[in-house]
């Protein structure tokens, strides 16, 4: 039997490669097959190349590439079904866990955090990318692929912003606004103008565009455009000025009360009470003065992000101004104040009958922010991971409570 020489085999291999057979496996299969056919049909008087050219068209309808495409399609088709199955299952799973997590969050049960973070992360980084891969296989037009891509990115940013918001991580607002911007400025125009050209999809496109516009608009009205810093500053200034007015009022009243009492034993006790309270208040005022030096000179020149990063105006910021750098121990000044409060409390319980306010109770307590029963110290409960502005306010409140104690015992 006739056998093709090496040169001829190489010629065929090179030719099928050139004609779009990319995978090596397929190249070798086809090469062997073509060689078999040629060896079967060739006769001594025939020209090898002519025969090859006449045989090749049996393999396809239009071009040889079809075999490669068909192979790719068949191989990915199976993956396609597996991917679709995985996508649907994890989608249902995530949605289910998310709903449970949301219920836990509403009820303040432990474990809500992980049940919200996990499904959102899965939706964003597994479900939506898979959706893109699967859907983009189904569509041919580049423009539609782009629309799909922006839609998927919009979904990822939107769910991320939800996650950031729920977990109180910084940047949720920026993500939210960029998701909306993407929806209105990129996705919607592409979706609308892409779909409206095709008579078949025209009506559906108009309806879905209106729905998207309405939903997006609703979301937009939920967006509070005034800055967080502004609101917190206003609130803080208001509350602080109320506190100061009350403190001053009580202070004046107390001074008058001290002056009015003439009973000698009472006067001596009162003098000691006044001294203790004044020392404590001075200590707190000094601490406040030290903290105020950390305040920015001209906050308006900074962006909100810079401001929050640096000074912790954000209610959720995790700074502890009255703790050492590693946030493990309270600063000596705070310890001194606690000692002063304890001293005042024991003096009060010996000489006066009095209920002390919440801030003046220096016993360990269970942390209101955590679900566990572990007790935390007075310092941690009031000043650990508390932003500057709130720290200041708690100190003001403390002074007020001292004045109240003084006043109620006179």
């Amino acid at each position: 039997m006739f056998a093709l020489n090496e040169q001829q085999v190489d010629f065929i291999l090179e030719d099928i490669r050139r004609n779009g057979i990319e995978s090596e496996e397929l190249q070798l299969s086809l090469l062997d097959h073509i060689c078999c056919v040629i060896e079967e049909e060739i006769s001594p008087e025939m020209n090898f190349e002519d025969l090859y050219r006449s045989i090749l068209p049996r393999f396809f309808k239009k071009e040889l590439r079809e075999i490669q495409e068909e192979t790719d399609l068949l191989i990915t088709f199976k993956n396609y079904y597996a991917m679709k199955k995985v996508m649907l299952n994890i989608g249902v799973f995530s949605a289910f866990v998310f709903i449970i997590g949301a219920i836990f969050k509403l009820m303040h049960w432990p474990g809500a955090g992980i049940m919200l973070v996990l499904p959102i992360a899965i939706i964003s980084f597994v479900f939506l990318p898979l959706l893109f891969l699967i859907k983009s296989k189904e569509i041919k037009k580049k423009r539609e692929k782009f629309t799909l891509g922006t839609g998927v990115v919009f979904g990822i940013i939107l769910s991320m912003s939800g996650l950031f918001k729920v977990m109180h991580w910084p940047g949720a607002g920026a993500l939210w606004v960029s998701a909306l911007a993407m929806l209105f400025l990129v996705f919607l125009p592409f979706h609308f103008f892409g779909g409206i050209r095709n008579p078949e999809t025209k009506t559906n496109t108009i309806i879905s565009s209106i729905l998207i516009l309405m939903t997006g608009g609703l979301f937009f009205t939920l967006t509070d455009l005034s800055s967080t810093r502004q609101k917190i500053e206003e609130l803080t200034i208001q509350t602080d000025s109320h506190l100061l007015v009350a403190t001053n009022y009580l202070h004046q009243g107390n001074q008058n009360d001290y002056a009015e009492i003439v009973d000698s034993t009472q006067v001596i006790k009162n003098l000691e009470l006044q001294a203790k309270c004044d020392t404590l208040c001075t200590k707190i005022e000094n601490l406040k003065l030290g903290l105020m030096k950390a305040l920015p000179a001209q906050p308006s020149e900074m962006t909100e992000e810079e401001f929050v990063d640096q000074y912790g105006y954000d209610i959720r910021s995790t700074m502890s101004f009255l703790f050492t750098d590693k946030e493990e121990d309270p600063k000596p000044s705070l310890v001194a104040i606690k000692a002063g409060i304890n001293d005042l409390n024991s003096f009060l319980s010996l000489n006066y009958v009095s209920e002390v306010g919440d801030l003046l109770n220096t016993e360990d307590r269970s942390n209101p922010g955590s679900s566990s029963d572990i007790k935390v110290s007075w310092e941690v409960a009031n000043f650990h991971r508390v932003p500057l502005q709130l720290t200041m306010r708690i100190l003001n409140q403390l002074i007020l409570e001292i004045k109240i104690i003084e006043s109620s015992n006179l």
Binding site: L4, S29, D32, H33, C36, F59, E66, E70, L74, I75
Partner: protein, 112 residues
């Protein structure tokens, strides 16, 4: 020769049945065997044969054996045990299908 549409639906069945009846076969051999067995009535097109063979290999229904033949490489296909089960199922299904078609198209030779 039957139309491509008719052959296409049964291609997998034909390949699996042939392979499970023999030790191992290569692509060209399969086409020749089918041609010979059917007297040329069924001719597998290469454009359909190889994509199917490669897909079945990727799915683990077939395993391959590579042998050097002169200046080139020849790939021999063998059915796995899973493939043999699929072959049996497919043949049974097709046999059932034929019965149904005979009934449906009223092809049953008249009694008596």
């Amino acid at each position: 020769m039957y139309s491509k549409e008719l052959v296409k639906g049964t291609l997998k069945t034909i390949i699996l049945k042939l392979l499970s009846d023999s030790d191992k076969m290569y692509g060209y051999e399969i086409t020749q065997k089918v041609k010979e067995l059917t007297g040329g009535k069924i001719q597998l097109t290469e454009g359909a044969l190889y994509p199917t063979l490669h897909a079945m290999e990727a799915q683990g229904i077939l395993t391959t054996d590579v042998v050097n033949v002169g200046n080139r490489i020849r790939k021999y296909y063998t059915v796995t045990s899973e493939g043999e089960k699929i072959a049996r199922d497919k043949v049974n299904e097709f046999s059932d299908f034929m019965d149904t078609m005979i009934f449906l198209l009223d092809l049953k030779p008249k009694m008596g």
